[in-house]
Symmetry: C2
Subunit: 202 residues, 2 copies
């Protein structure tokens, strides 16, 4: 006849419930988390230092499927392409998490490992330090935007009288999702690498 | 001694309150909207057909500052660059709205006007119908990702032992916000247009 069972709180469980809240509502607060877990806010602090740490735990999950190419002899464009493909695939699992992550400073090992690999590869390709920062920002913007696009509806535009002939002809070429999003991502990646290679060859 | 004053409901007021809710919480529901406006959900339907219409009203607001270049004689790269710059600036005012908009099919005049202008310009530049759809998707992904980046914290990465020498050197070149985000966007736009021009010249 002891006390009722106490929920087995853990850092992992807190992160899982926070992820559920983000997927359902686009965000989370400490009081919401505590209410959902049926614990007091203060008991959360026995496991996490605060909201910032929880956001970083969510970032680790979003990045958990990022794969870094093992072959150091690949051309830099292929190394970058491989990182970007897995980065997008990994983030596309949690589209509602993206604005929350971009609103917080990065402080997770997975993220640093990936950004270090990108910086090293671009340095090897001859980019200046300033252009490395700009190129990484560009890749981030493109990958996160593409991960949002992958979560977009099957028909991204309602058909209507306001669609002109050029746009209508372009829309008519679109295949079913997610193949269309994948195809557009591959095109975008190709354009981006062509542009970067053109800059690197100056 | 009549009844208490009834709030003057209008489509505009409903959109404004929905935007406030999105900015504060990342989303909105019809019951939340009704509660905030102190009206019954059913009275909302005297002004809007439903949630989808409200999302399109928010899209119109997000796009209200998009400017289409008036000069039809500009090179296509300059026309595209002008549209993308104003598109990003307009969306950057509402970063938390972005995932909501990408999750809904586009059905707003402002949006169609812009996508028609992009399609016409890319058609004039010689792109195939399929590549026009891909290029517009790429621009959307880049602009929306960049609008999120503009709302990111001043220090996007926490300094730490896990930052390798190449990444540290790149980070050290970053100026203050929002100048750094603007600089990265201009770089990204240049890379993207170089890549597209390279494709168009094949």
């Amino acid at each position: 006849m002891g006390r009722p069972p106490v929920p087995l709180l853990s850092t992992d469980l807190i992160a899982s419930i926070a992820m559920d809240l983000v997927n359902a509502t686009g965000g989370f607060t400490i009081p919401e988390l505590a209410r959902t877990l049926k614990v007091s806010p203060s008991s959360l602090y026995n496991h996490v230092s605060g909201r910032d740490q929880i956001v970083e735990l969510l970032r680790e999950r979003a990045m958990s499927e990022v794969v870094l190419p093992a072959d150091a002899d690949l051309p830099w464009t292929e190394t970058v392409a491989g990182i970007m493909r897995s980065y997008r695939r990994s983030y596309a699992r949690y589209p509602r998490l993206i604005p929350l992550l971009t609103a917080h400073a990065v402080n997770s090992s997975h993220a640093f490992t990936m950004y270090n690999a990108l910086a090293t590869t671009l340095h090897r390709a001859g980019f200046t330090d300033a252009d490395i920062l700009r190129a990484i920002t560009l890749m981030d913007c493109f990958v996160l935007g593409s991960a949002l696009d992958l979560a977009a509806p099957v028909e991204p535009w309602e058909a209507g009288a306001e669609v002109g002939p050029e746009l209508a002809a372009a829309l008519a070429t679109g295949g079913p999702k997610p193949a269309r999003a994948d195809d557009a991502f591959d095109f975008g990646l190709d354009v981006l690498l062509r542009g970067l290679a053109d800059l690197a060859s100056r």
